[in-house]
Assembly symmetry: C2
Amino acid sequence: MTDGANTWQAVQAEVLRRIRSGQWAPGGAIPHEADLAQELGCARTTVNRALREVAEMGLIERRRRAGSRVAMRPVRRATLDIPVLRDEIEARGAAYAFTLQKREMALPPVSVQARLALGADRALLHVVGLHLADGHPYALEDRWIDPEAVPQVQDADFTTLSPNEWLVLTIPFEGGDIAFSAHAATQGEAAALRCPEGAALFVVERVTWRGEARLTCVRLTFAPGHRLVTVI
Amino acid sequence: MTDGANTWQAVQAEVLRRIRSGQWAPGGAIPHEADLAQELGCARTTVNRALREVAEMGLIERRRRAGSRVAMRPVRRATLDIPVLRDEIEARGAAYAFTLQKREMALPPVSVQARLALGADRALLHVVGLHLADGHPYALEDRWIDPEAVPQVQDADFTTLSPNEWLVLTIPFEGGDIAFSAHAATQGEAAALRCPEGAALFVVERVTWRGEARLTCVRLTFAPGHRLVTVI
DNA sequence: AAGTGGTCTAGACCACTCC
DNA sequence: GAGTGGTCTAGACCACTTA
């Protein structure tokens, strides 16, 4: 039994079935790759391919010499797609626009200094602008860019191309971290997003770095009602 | 040149370097696997392994017969770990506790009916409880469970083990979707979380299904200041 | 119809860990 | 030191898609 087609998907499905059914209990060891390969009638490479993804899902833990075990505390792992705001808005069938509100060199506040790990005396480029969907405020972008780390930014004109979009095109695919939170609208945010002061707003904060260098940090404050959705 | 060690990581690093440097421009085609393998001095399998992950990152698009191209609009893809609340709280070094506030069969509101795709006349199990960290309110859990889809729930006693935790142990690793948003505290939420009415709260809503059957939906409302963080 | 990526195999060696 | 997962190889066939 159990020898479904010898594809790695079939092996993976069988592995998931055994975990779900409790046949392989949380915290328990599972057979070695070689044994599984023989049992399921496929090459060890195929078993390896199947188990690798299960491990990436967080369902099993693998260690050399020690073998693989079902995770004691399985973690749900969701993948979030974070598109450029223009794409996100146009995907909803709305017309996109961006209005620049500020573009100046300035000393960042302490919170930004900390997030970028910079000294207190470094002036950064501060850009603030509003993303609009069909003319309605969609998100407020408040960004700090280190011109030493991103020298091209001196020539960037953000009046039509938002920094959000410009950066994706200019410095693609660097590392970073993201934080999601809720935040009561300040007076300025309320004015920009045309919502009551104190309204509950969804906030995305991101720091982008290349190697050790922090390039930019941004705070996106979305208009009320925004939802970030994904499928597990 | 370029022939770093013939590991898939080296191949992938080289591929990423070429994308970043613009040598392979967005929207442009990249060499075929076989050509790359020859150029970099490794087996095609190794190139395939490297490119597969780059495709999963969303940086390139691969199609049979058509070859691979650098994505025109690279999407940032973040993976979020969504632990059980007990683990999340204990990982912060705080003492975890759960208090059950409600457990009753009831007709769900329209919004829940819609999310679970159920008729208006189906009574569901409604469970409300508070997760505490060192005695302070951490998150309010408001959950609806379909007893027909999860019959074991009839025997579950949620006074000490939260439904959050019970469900992970009982029906592990099913599919679902998640939504994140911000929400102004209602009177009841404010009382439970000990915050001002109208405070900006971070909300996670989740629907869990198995195959076609919707099992449960939950709304987790976090105390003010909560942040969900991840690394890209 | 043909070319590309997707996958499987059998064998091999290596890196890491635990005993 | 020995056993496990991690990876590479060379070759092969298949599935899909586009020309």
